[in-house]
Amino acid sequence: MSEVASRRTTSISVAQDNVSAEATLAGERRSLAKRLLAPTQLLLVFIVAFPLCMQIYISMTWWTPLDGEPWYRAYRSWVWFLNYIDLFRDEALWAAVWRTVLFVLISVPLEFFLGLIFATIFYEGVAGRPFFYSILLMPMMIVPAVAGYIFFLMFQQTGPVNAAISIVYSGALDWNWLNDVNRAFIAIIVADVWQWTPLMFLILYAGLMSVPDDQMRAATILGANWWDRFRRIALPRIKAVIVIAIGLRVIEAFKIFDPIFIMTSGGPGVATESLSLYLYKRTFQDLEWSYVAAIGITVLIVLSLITGIIIAKTTAKPQAATAEPVEQGRAV
């Protein structure tokens, strides 16, 4: 600032004065931006850089908290990549991964189609829209752990699910849902679909609302039926919204832990053991922390590769995928 002031007194032309004032201003802004960014960068280093190094280090040892040694002395049981080799031969792990994938492949499409159907019905018009809208969103707002407990109650032998089925099939039914290999898996899917269909509905409905009304009306007048209107006009416009909705659900469903832990703890046996539950058991029942660390690093690499490919693909065509929903959304 003093530099600017001195220049002013030596009466250098006003234009030049402005240039240097602007330069200081830009510098000030930049330093402000850096200071505003600092806390977040600090937190990221704290939670990513250091733990990541620690996890890689531990994953190459056989250290467990039972050793009575602090983690930094883990090198005493250094085994290089033995944990990584082990995990490729760990059938229980791959069974859990496959179970999780199966769960995602069943529940996410179910949630998507149900959500799409409800969103379409809403778009076509229902009486008391705001009222039903709030009610349909409610399951999504229940704490997932509580939702798990709710469905634990629902699927008890003396619970309402059995009672409801008993009414349809005459005769009392006493299925023990959560203790049966197949039924427990179905129960988990039912709970997940109940809780997360609202999310699909919410996002898809917002997408449908961004489709221009006049085009839909014109198509109706021209005699297009519901399916044609949906396929030709709405679908191309909400493609990006669909990708976002399904992507979010796939990521979250893959991480599933809370409801399963509370409903069945992965049981009976390992029938509902998802990847997260398998990791939990390995961490707290077997205390094999170095092995879990190795699995974690592997999961990290695989998921980073997958998301990296997806991000590369979507940003390659920004007009088609990422830019569109923002523009459409503003029209609403």
Partner: protein
């Protein structure tokens, strides 16, 4: 007109299905111990003898229909949930808003957004081992500040991306005008830009509070006894003598469920934006 009736009836049926499980929990919360488990034929959605004893039991530790008294009441977990969620929300919103402003205006370190997103992609259990070791080393296991700090970090991606979307929409000229009038860049940020986005900050904060309040797994891993949150306390609730405390747990579930549902409905116009990290706007 016919179509409208059919659609409304269909949605009404779906709404009943959506509400039934919640209703069942509420009903269970008001049932006396004798009605917790009944034969399939005598099942009833409405408690025959509604009672508040489940709530009395979890709040005071004693109830007339319970033989064993609880050694811990719900007050501790309720306070823990509230305190850690609020502090975690503060950390996320303050850091996230500041960083979002910096990235949106000066375009520095734009990769930070993707690094933050990665925090949400990985299953927590795959990356928690070093965090648990660090928390133990820093003596932060089972403390309110330890839990609040991790809550602040895991919800930071939401506040960053949501606020960045708002700042990107805001024209730069407003601040530039203020700077011409003699403001420093920081004053322009604090006195001009922040008041404009205040309501967006509020919605973001409420949304993040819901996320923090809904957590189960982090509290399960990083607390032991003193600072367990309501969901963890709920699932662990059982006494050796009575076994499953269905009604009391349902009462706890209801207590845990009320704040997110009330807040969620009050910000429902914001939810699309919130859940998609600001990618979609409603």
């Amino acid at each position: 007109m016919n179509g409208l009736i059919i659609r409304t009836v269909a949605i009404a049926i779906v709404s009943c299905i959506a509400l039934l499980p919640i209703t069942w929990m509420i009903s269970m919360a008001f049932k006396p111990a004798a009605e917790w488990t009944t034969a399939a034929g005598e099942i009833s959605l409405i408690p025959k003898n509604p009672t508040l004893s489940n709530f009395v039991y979890v709040f005071t530790g004693n109830a007339p229909d319970q033989v064993v008294s609880l050694d811990r009441t719900v007050w501790g977990p309720l306070f823990a949930s509230l305190l850690t969620s609020v502090i975690g929300t503060l950390i996320a919103v303050v850091c996230g808003t500041a960083a979002a402003y910096a990235v949106s205006r000066e375009k520095i370190n734009e990769s930070i957004g993707l690094s933050l997103l990665q925090l949400r992609i990985f299953p927590p259990l795959a990356v928690m081992i070093p965090v648990m070791i660090m928390w133990a080393f820093l003596r932060m296991i089972d403390t309110w500040w330890g839990l609040a700090l991790i809550y602040g970090i895991v919800t930071l991606p939401f506040s960053f991306w949501l606020m960045k979307a708002y700042f990107d929409e805001l024209p730069r000229e407003i601040e530039e005008a203020a700077i011409v009038e003699g403001c420093t860049p920081f004053m322009a940020f604090r006195q001009i830009t922040l008041p404009i986005v205040a309501s967006a900050v509020a919605s973001t904060a409420l949304f993040i509070f819901i996320l923090n309040w809904s957590d189960y797994i982090i509290a399960l891993l990083l607390t032991r006894k003193d600072w367990t949150t309501i969901p963890v306390y709920m699932n662990a609730l059982a006494t050796a003598a009575s076994g499953q405390l269905y009604g009391a747990k349902a009462a706890l579930g209801l207590i845990a469920a009320i704040p997110p549902v009330v807040l969620g409905i009050s910000i429902q116009r914001f939810l699309v934006r919130g859940l998609t990290f600001g990618a979609l706007k409603q």
